[in-house]
Every structure is written in structure tokens, then in C-alpha cells.
């Protein structure tokens, strides 16, 4: 069994407390890390091949390097705990079971990017995780791990825990920033990118919970150790959320070199009830679907990209032969229609339209040409929007129909 890094303490009762966290070595190396030069930390993170685990898979150290050199004035670190990608639930586990791991990661990362005020944006529905995490923040303040001159290092960090109010789009980093600023979660135009002009007009680094949880380990154990855990393009382990028709749904922390087949059949116990695998969504609902014979792929960013899909948030949704793919697409299309923020035209108008078409198809009222209409609309709309939400919707629209066209056609009256 490979080493577990982020989830190593999950089995311990009270793993969320400062006491247990410290007993298992937490905050131990922090003083030394705070004495390191920020540039050294950034360099280490770059060399570790840590890639963002929120969805886009962008190299974390590279993103940190985008903050304008010589910038005067505040820089903000924003933790994306708005977990909302269907099929994903790992950040909830981290908030509930290892909140101090996230806090330590924030202290190190904030030091690296020169931020003295960090925000944690927790989705509004996550009430228990928010309570547990907020309590941990208080513990950290009380123990001198947050606030002015942490452990006498001269490094300051304040943490504000901010709750969302129900909107998937606030997981998109600029939608999150709008929401953090007290507005609707409308994503912002890029350029400017958040690292240049983000929250409250200041350079801002948005990172996923899990990404940041990795940072202290990387800095303490070294870039090469972390890089060696993964593949050529991506270092480390990550937490796979496996759900659907498997025997043991749950969170599995594994090296990113694990294959989808091994994840499903070995770690998650294979398909439940002895049925046959039909399809898998490997990276949250926005990732294009894979068929049963496309699962011999490694679960790193590049492996899944080469397979025509994406690692996304590593939410793995497993469907067996009893699942109707058109019905699944209808459910997914309803989600995107419901969650489109409405800001830009292609996404606002076509998510609703495509949902209406898929619903009619499932209800047996589809028209012959409509499968092609959906494909055409989705292909043309892809890449024309303000944010990647719409491309995330296009992934399933196109892949479900292309890979399971027969099933759709069977529902359309002749």
C-alpha cells in the first residue's frame, strides 16, 4: 500500500483537534519553514510538480510566480473550499478530519506568496465542516500559529473563514472572488488574472484545499520526494472521490500514477452487485465520460488529457450496465442549466436549451436531428464564454452522445 500523506490521520478519533495534529507531528517543522526565503519555497513547489487539485490542474508553483515582482501592498491567499463539482467530496473530508493540515498549508503558502490575510471560502451547505474548521482556526490562533509573528518568526497571518450561499459557479476562482467581495458569483473577465488583480483589486492566489494541504509536506520532505510519487508531469498523491455503482464508495488517496481500472476494481471494491461496468466519469461531472474499455489510463492530469477527458477534481462516478446514459445526461444538463450564472450569452442560453432537448429525448419526444443539434451547439459554443463552466458542460454533452449514440437514438421516435 502506498504511503498516504493527506489522509494519514483520518482513522484517528479526534483527528481534527490541535492535540492529535501535534501528536502526529503537525506544526513541528513550521518554525524552520517560516525561516526559509519565500522564493525558495516557491521554487520547491515548482520542482515538486504539484498541480492544482481543484479542477484545472495548473502547476501551483508557476501560478504563485505570476504575482507581479516588486508588488507593493496586500496580496491575498484564498482557499477554494467551495467544493461543488458533482462526484467530488474530498475537501469535505479534509476540512472535517484534518483542518490543521489546511491551516499549516495556508501558513506556509501565505509566507511564500507574501500574504498576511487569507480567506477560506467554504460552500454554504458545508455547515459541519465549516464549524469544525472554524474551531480549528480558533485553536490555531490561541496556540500562536495564526496572528502576529507566528512562533516569533516575524511572519503574520490572519485567516477569515467565509461562507458561500449556494452557487456552484463560486467554485470557479473568479466567481469565488466576486462572491467573496459580496457580489453575485459572476466570474470576471481575464485578463487581468487574479494573480495580478484579484480579490479587492489586489494580487490574489486561489488554491484548492487539497493543493494547499500538500504544501507543508513538500517543503519539509523535498520536491524530489513529492515528484517521485507521481508521473513525469504531476507529482504526489491525490484524493480520489469514488461514487456510484462500486462496492466501496469513498475517498482514496493514491499516487496520481494509479490507473482508473485499479482505482475502481481494487481500491473501491469493483462494481457492486456483480454487474458489469458501463461507463465512468473520471474527474467530476465536467469531465468527458469514458466507456468500460477506456479505463486503462493513469489518473494524472496528462494521462486523462491524453484519453480525451480530464482529471478535474478527481471525482470518479461509476456507472454500471443498468444505467441509462441519456437519463444521466439529462440530469447533468439540468445541473448546468441550473448553475449557469447567466452572465454570458452562449452559456446562459444554451444550457437551458440543451436541458430542454435532453429532457424531451428521455421522455420519448426527441426529434431525429436534435442529437446533432446538441453536438453542433456545444461544439460551436465551446471556448466562447467568460469562464470554463461552459466548457465543463460541453464535456458531457458531447461525450455522452458521441460514445452512447445508439442509446439516445433508441429513444427517439422514428
Amino acid at each position: 500500500m502506498a504511503e498516504r500523506i493527506l489522509t494519514r490521520n483520518f482513522h484517528l478519533p479526534e483527528s481534527h483537534t490541535l492535540r492529535v495534529y501535534r501528536e502526529t507531528g503537525g506544526y513541528e517543522g513550521l518554525s524552520d519553514v517560516l525561516a526559509m526565503a519565500p522564493a525558495t519555497i516557491i521554487e520547491t513547489v515548482k520542482r515538486s510538480n504539484l498541480r492544482g487539485l481543484g479542477g484545472a490542474g495548473f502547476p501551483t508553483g508557476v501560478k504563485w510566480g505570476f504575482i507581479p515582482k516588486g508588488h507593493q501592498g496586500p496580496v491575498y491567499l484564498v482557499i477554494n473550499a467551495d467544493e461543488g463539482e458533482p462526484g467530488t467530496f474530498k475537501d469535505r473530508y479534509l476540512l472535517e478530519k484534518d483542518p490543521h493540515g489546511l491551516i499549516e498549508g495556508m501558513i506556509v503558502s501565505a509566507h511564500a506568496i507574501g500574504s498576511r490575510l487569507a480567506f477560506v471560502y467554504v460552500r454554504g451547505e458545508y455547515v459541519q465542516p465549516w464549524r469544525i474548521f472554524s474551531r480549528a482556526v480558533q485553536e490555531a490562533y490561541d496556540a500562536g500559529f495564526l496572528g502576529k509573528s507566528i512562533l516569533g518568526s516575524g511572519v503574520d497571518l490572519d485567516v477569515v473563514v467565509h461562507r458561500g450561499a449556494g452557487a456552484y459557479i463560486c467554485g470557479e476562482e473568479t466567481g469565488l472572488i466576486s462572491s467573496l467581495e459580496g457580489k453575485k458569483g459572476w466570474p470576471k473577465l481575464k485578463p487581468p488574472f487574479p494573480a495580478v488583480r484579484g480579490a479587492f483589486g489586489a494580487p490574489t492566489i486561489v488554491n484548492n484545499v487539497e493543493t494547499i494541504c500538500h504544501v507543508p509536506h513538500i517543503v519539509q520532505r523535498g520536491a524530489s520526494w513529492f515528484a517521485a510519487l507521481g508521473t513525469a508531469g504531476q507529482g504526489g498523491t491525490r484524493m480520489y472521490s469514488v461514487s456510484g455503482r462500486v462496492a466501496r464508495p469513498g475517498v482514496y488517496e493514491l499516487p496520481v500514477s494509479v490507473t482508473l481500472r485499479s482505482l475502481i476494481s481494487e481500491h473501491a471494491g469493483g462494481i457492486a452487485n456483480g454487474r458489469r461496468l458501463k461507463a465512468v466519469v473520471p474527474g467530476g461531472s465536467s469531465a468527458p465520460i469514458l466507456t468500460a474499455d477506456e479505463i486503462d489510463v493513469t489518473m494524472d492530469v496528462d494521462g486523462l488529457k491524453n484519453a480525451g477527458t480530464m482529471a478535474g477534481s478527481a471525482g470518479v462516478i461509476v456507472m454500471d450496465e443498468s444505467v441509462s446514459i441519456p437519463e444521466a445526461l439529462m440530469i447533468v444538463a439540468r445541473f448546468y442549466a441550473h448553475e449557469s450564472c447567466g452572465q454570458c450569452t452562449p452559456c446562459r442560453e444554451s444550457t437551458g436549451w440543451i436541458y430542454k432537448m435532453t429532457r424531451r429525448i428521455v421522455e420519448g419526444r426527441g426529434r431525429k436531428e436534435e442529437l446533432d443539434t446538441i453536438l453542433d451547439v456545444a461544439r460551436r459554443g465551446a471556448g466562447t464564454t467568460i469562464c470554463a463552466f461552459y466548457d465543463g458542460a460541453v464535456g458531457p454533452y458531447i461525450s455522452y452522445i458521441e460514445k452512447f449514440r445508439d442509446e439516445f437514438e433508441a429513444l427517439i421516435p422514428k
Binding site: Y126, Q128, G182, V251
Partner: protein
Amino acid sequence: MSRPAAVQFTAGELALVRRLQALYPDKRAALLPVLQLVQDTFGYISLEAEEYVAGLFDLPPAHVHEVVTFYTLFFQEPKGRHVVSVCHNLTCHLEGAPTVLAHLRMRLGVDVGATTADGRVTLLAVECLCACEMAPMLQVDDRYEGNLTPAKIDRILEGLE
């Protein structure tokens, strides 16, 4: 709990509002937390409350209304004493969300989006709550409940005053 009288914070609540506003580089950032406070205090966010909050933030009321109508967790109408939100996204759907919803509709005698006549429960169907490992699941007030069966749903309902 709800306090239905005219929308007006107490001195203590106003102090909390100011504390929240001071947490951020721009006080507007406290709008979501303060709306949450309004909802916790008054049960829902009325138009009157939106105007009141607009005043606390020096914002045009239309901008507060934009925010209130954008997020699903803000209620513009009084809700039940408990809110039961059933996840109907992909994994939960595959694992039986339609059955869960049908069972709840039958037990509560209301449709999705409605509140029981006695004001006890508001029933909602919502998008992914990110607890797919326990599908089918629902949220009842602050709590997640998963691996639902009709018997478990009945037990959950029994626990609601």
C-alpha cells in the same frame, strides 16, 4: 429561530455586523455573512430586510436583491422550521434520489419547493451536495444524512419538531 417583527437588528447584532464588515478590506464583502445573519434572525430575507441591509452597506437595494436572488441558500419567503434538501444530482440520481423524493412527498404531503401546512418542513431538491459516497443523501438543516432508505427517512422525519 425566527423573529418576525419589523426588520431591525439589536445593538448586539449591529455590533456583530460591524465586526464582520471590519474583517475584510472592503466592508461590502460582509454582505453574504450579514444576509445569513438576517436569515438566521428573521427566518427569511424579506424585501424589507434587503432594504435594511442595503442601508447597512450603503448599497443600492437592487444590488442586494441581485445577491439574494442569485444564491440558493437565501430564502425570500418564510420557510419551514426545518428544511429537507434532497440531492438529485448524478450519483444520487443513480442511487435512488427519485425514490427518496417520492417517499418524502408522500410522507410530508407536499411537493418539492413547498412547505407543509403546519410549517414544519420545507422540501427541496438540490444540486450536488458533494457527499456522493453516501448516495442517496439529503441535508436536513445543518446535517447530512446518507445511505437513505425509506425507514431511515422516516426516522429522520420523526426527529423533526
